[in-house]
């Protein structure tokens, strides 16, 4: 929802960056909302190249003043000027590119890198809380990506410092093993103030970006990363009894 901060969590390769870029490209080309993409890992030149695979000309959008692809060090994102007791609101690093193009959307990819800057989980949570509040007060609709460990199966843990409580929305991207093939699942785990979609949806990364498909019908255990047929699960339950 507009003005919200949404966390997109998923393991490496699930499509978090693509989802973030797609959100910005759609904003700039379909909704008249300019955007800023902040990357800690990849250089813009790699991002421009990869985006071309989906038909997105990010350089052109930058030249048109609709997008800014910023690469920086994680520590700078949390740097701010101005104290809480001063009359002026604090200014963060990203306020400059946001103001330069009148951005309404922001993607920070991935937020995990902030853990390298603020090592204490309580302090990190406080920093991110203050930062996300600033994003909201600036009127930005934001996506923070978050890489979670584990490709399939095992324990599913979003973060160690309560990120899920801070954000307004939480989208999980997950690899799923279905009948000996790897598929991708998308689940909306949280969307504050809305009656959101509850079903687990399959999605694909196509030449146009992320394409959400139908529900995983007749399957269960999808979020564990290893889906099985509901009928089989029922039979096993009966046998177990």
């Amino acid at each position: 929802m507009k003005g919200d901060v949404t966390l997109v969590a998923g393991s490496s390769g699930t499509g978090k960056t693509i989802l973030g870029l797609q959100f910005l490209v759609a904003g700039a080309t379909k909704f008249g909302e300019n955007g800023v993409y902040i990357s800690f890992e990849q250089l813009p030149q790699q991002i421009y190249r990869d985006a071309k695979n989906f038909g997105w000309d990010l350089r052109k959008l930058e030249e048109e003043g609709k997008l800014r692809v910023v690469c920086t060090s994680p520590g700078l994102v949390l740097e701010r000027e101005g104290l809480a007791l001063e009359k002026k609101a604090p200014r963060y690093f990203l306020d400059d590119p946001v103001e330069e193009i009148g951005a309404q959307r922001v993607v920070i990819d991935p937020i995990n890198h902030l853990e390298m800057v603020v090592r204490d989980p309580v302090a990190l949570r406080q920093e991110i809380y203050t930062f996300t509040n600033h994003l909201k007060m600036t009127g930005l609709t934001s996506i923070l990506t978050h890489e979670i460990p584990g490709i399939v199966g095992g324990e599913l843990r979003i973060s160690d410092f309560g990120l899920g409580f801070i954000v307004d929305g939480l989208i999980l991207l997950r690899f799923v093993e279905v009948e000996s093939s790897v598929k991708k699942a998308l689940a909306i785990l949280k969307m504050r103030g809305s009656d959101h979609e509850k079903s687990l949806r399959e999605f694909d990364i196509t030449g146009k970006g992320i394409e959400v498909k139908g529900e995983f019908k007749g399957k269960e255990g999808v979020l564990t990363g290893s889906a099985r047929s509901s009928a089989l699960a029922e039979t096993l339950m009966k046998v177990g009894r």
Partner: protein
Amino acid sequence: MSLREGKSRDSSASSSEKLVSNDVKAELLVFFYNNPGAMDTVEGIARRVGRGSKIVEKNILDLVELGFLNRRQVGGREILALNHSRYKDIEKMIVKYVDEYGRLSRKREAEKVE
């Protein structure tokens, strides 16, 4: 002639000649040309271009003086970024650098053959 002598914005030709003679400056210009959205500290930029902080700092200060990069303070840190209004000038300089480099390489090859 030192680099600082050519800092006038109107003397891009002479600046270019001096940049050609300095690989680190040329590398930094190419980096910012390819990554116009890079906004980082000297240490961050040094890491990305794979050079030492000291040499990068010295050359970045020259590029700031030449008007190709901007610097500003955020919190207690100094951030450097491309001066977007000079993007086309940088492009011309890189083209010239590549031409000059190619010309010199061909000349050296020809001398070797002789």
